[in-house]
C-alpha cells in the first residue's frame, strides 16, 4: 500500500488504519469516528487527503478538452472558480467524479479520487488534444481538508482575514500564506460544512498538519479519519465513487444532475441521454437502530427494484441508519420501501431529499468570521 507523508503522524496518534484506494489511511483516531464526525459538524475536522490525484492542464486546447471530457459546462466558470464534474465513459457511466479548477483560460487543475488516479490519467492522456500539456502533479502535491464552522476563523487567524473574507463557495485563492507556507485555498469540501481544501507542496504538508492541529485547538479542531469522512459526505448527500457513481452504472436519475450540462458535446452524452429514466439514485433513512447490511435489495410492493449502495449510522440525525439506493423505479420523497438483507431480514425505509443534514457549506464567509 502507498503511504502519505502523514502516515507516521497517524500511527503516532493511535489511528486505526485501513486500505483505501491502494493507500494506508486512517479510519479514525483514538477519538473515534463519532466524535470526529461531531467535531466537524460543530467545530472543525482536519483530514489527510494527500492520496487524491491532481493534474495540471495548460494550453490553447484546454477549454475544448474539458468540454469533451467533462459533463458540466466549464464556460460557466471564471478565473478562481472550481466546478464539480463527472468523467463518463462511452456508455454514459461514471469513470470518476472530480473537481476542475480554472486558473485562467489556458491553465486548469483537475482533482480526482485516490483509487482511480492512474486510470483517470490514462483516460485523459488517451483523449488529449493537440495544443495542450497534461501533467500529473499528484506526487508533489499535499492536500488537507479543513472542514467545519470554526474553520474560517482558524484560517483567518493564520492567513489574515483578508485572504478569505470574500471567498465564495467553490472559489479558490492561490498563493495564500499560512505562517510561511504557500497554499492554494479552495472553498470546497466533502462534508457539507464550510471549509477549505488546502493544497501545498508535498514537502510542506507535515508542517501544515502540525500547525493546523496546534493553532486549531482553541477552535475545537480534531483530526478526523476516512470513517467520519464517509458519514459526513453521505449526510451531505454526496456520492462515493465506486458506490453511487461507477463505471458500470449510467449517470442519470441522480441527485447530482447539477454536474451535467446538456449544452455541449461530451464523451458519453449520447448513451447517457438514451438511458434517461432507466435508473435512479436516492438517499434514504431506515426505521429502527440497525443498518440493513451491504448489498441489501430494495423492494417495492414485493418486487425487487434496486440495491443499497452505501449505508451508515447518521450521527447528526441522532444515530439513525441512512444510506443511498439505486433503483429502476422512480420514487417520490417520503416513499416507503423495504430493504431485504442477505440474511432475509426486512427493514422499512423512506426516500429522502438531499442533503439529509444541511450544513454550513454555503454560508456567507463574513458571517462565519
Amino acid at each position: 500500500m502507498q503511504k502519505t507523508p502523514l502516515f507516521e503522524k497517524h500511527v503516532a496518534m493511535g489511528a486505526t488504519m485501513a486500505e483505501f484506494g491502494g493507500w494506508d489511511m486512517p479510519l479514525w483516531y483514538k477519538t473515534g469516528q463519532t466524535a470526529e464526525h461531531k467535531a466537524t459538524r460543530e467545530n472543525c475536522g482536519l483530514f489527510d487527503i494527500c492520496h487524491m490525484g491532481e493534474y495540471i492542464v495548460t494550453g490553447k486546447d484546454s477549454y475544448a478538452f474539458w468540454q469533451k471530457i467533462l459533463t458540466n459546462d466549464v464556460t460557466k466558470i471564471v478565473d478562481g472558480q472550481a466546478q464539480y464534474n463527472f468523467m463518463l465513459n462511452e456508455k454514459g457511466c461514471v469513470i470518476d467524479d472530480c473537481i476542475v479548477y480554472r486558473f485562467n483560460e489556458e491553465k486548469w487543475m483537475l482533482v480526482v479520487n485516490a483509487g482511480t488516479q492512474e486510470s483517470d490519467f490514462e483516460w485523459l492522456c488517451k483523449n488529449k488534444l493537440p495544443d495542450m500539456e497534461l501533467k500529473n502533479i499528484s506526487a508533489t502535491t499535499g492536500k488537507l481538508d479543513l472542514q467545519g464552522p470554526t474553520a474560517p476563523k482558524l484560517v483567518a487567524e493564520l492567513a489574515g482575514r483578508e485572504a478569505i473574507e470574500d471567498l465564495k463557495f467553490f472559489r479558490f485563492a492561490e498563493n495564500v500564506n499560512i505562517c510561511g507556507i504557500n497554499v492554494l485555498l479552495s472553498r470546497t469540501g466533502y462534508t457539507g460544512e464550510i471549509g477549505f481544501e488546502i493544497y501545498c507542496d508535498i514537502n510542506d504538508v507535515v508542517k501544515l498538519w502540525d500547525l493546523l492541529l496546534e493553532k486549531g485547538q482553541s477552535y475545537g479542531i480534531m483530526a478526523a479519519g476516512l470513517g467520519a469522512r464517509d458519514t459526513l459526505r453521505l449526510e451531505a448527500g454526496l456520492p462515493l465513487s465506486g458506490h453511487e457513481v461507477r463505471p458500470d452504472v449510467v449517470a442519470t436519475g441522480t441527485p447530482w444532475e447539477f454536474a451535467i450540462s446538456h449544452e455541449h458535446e461530451f464523451i458519453g452524452k449520447e448513451a447517457l441521454e438514451a438511458q434517461k429514466g432507466t435508473v435512479f439514485a436516492y438517499a434514504i433513512t431506515v426505521e429502527g437502530r440497525r443498518k440493513p447490511g451491504d448489498h441489501s435489495k430494495v423492494m417495492l410492493n414485493g418486487r425487487e427494484i434496486g440495491v443499497l449502495t452505501s449505508e451508515i449510522i447518521s450521527v447528526s440525525l441522532g444515530m439513525v441508519p441512512a444510506g443511498f439506493i439505486r433503483t429502476d423505479t422512480e420514487l417520490a420523497p417520503e416513499s416507503e420501501i423495504e430493504l431485504l438483507n442477505e440474511k432475509g431480514k426486512s427493514f422499512k425505509a423512506f426516500v429522502k431529499e438531499t442533503p439529509l443534514v444541511k450544513g454550513t457549506s454555503r454560508k456567507k464567509m463574513a458571517s462565519m468570521l
Binding site: 486505526t16 469516528q33 463519532t34 464526525h37 464517509d230 447490511g293 451491504d294 449510522i313 444515530m319
Partner: protein, 134 residues
C-alpha cells in the same frame, strides 16, 4: 509485547474473541482490546438467545458500528445461559470496557476442550505483535 491490553487470566482466539473460565465448564465471551479498537464506535449488539445451542466457530453474535457490521465467532460449544442485558441500551460499553462490563454472553459447555484449544494471553500477545509487524 503488543500495544494492546491482554489480561493474563483469559484465553483468546485468532479472530480476537476472549474467553474467561467461570468454573464448572461455564465460560464468558467478549471481544479483545485489539478488536474493540478496530471495530470503531459500536451502535448495536445482536446477541444469541438464552438456551440457544451454539457450536464452536459459528457466528452467534454481531456487532454493528457506525461504519460496518462485524460477526463474532463463538469459541465454546454448548448452551447460552446468560447474555449481557446492558448492551441493548448501551452497546458502546463493548468498546469502552471490553474486558469488564462489555462482555457479550456466557456458555455452559460439557467440557474444557474448546477452552484449552484457545491461545493463552502470552500467545495472543505475540500473535498481535506479529500482526502489527505485517
Amino acid at each position: 509485547m503488543s500495544n494492546y491490553s491482554v489480561p493474563s487470566n483469559l484465553r483468546f482466539s485468532e479472530t480476537h474473541e476472549w474467553v474467561e473460565d467461570l468454573g464448572n465448564n461455564k465460560y464468558r465471551i467478549g471481544i479483545s482490546d485489539f478488536a474493540a479498537q478496530h471495530v470503531g464506535d459500536i451502535t448495536y449488539v445482536e446477541l444469541p438467545e438464552i438456551n440457544e445451542d451454539v457450536d464452536n466457530e459459528s457466528v452467534v453474535c454481531n456487532i454493528e458500528t457506525v461504519k460496518s457490521s462485524e460477526d463474532i465467532n463463538n469459541q465454546i460449544s454448548g448452551t447460552v445461559v446468560t447474555i449481557n442485558e446492558m448492551l441493548s441500551e448501551n452497546p458502546e460499553i463493548v468498546g469502552a470496557d471490553c474486558y469488564g462490563d462489555g462482555w457479550l454472553y456466557e456458555v455452559q459447555s460439557d467440557s474444557d476442550e474448546d477452552f484449552k484449544a484457545l491461545m493463552s494471553a502470552d500467545e495472543y500477545d505475540k500473535f498481535l505483535d506479529e500482526q502489527d509487524d505485517e
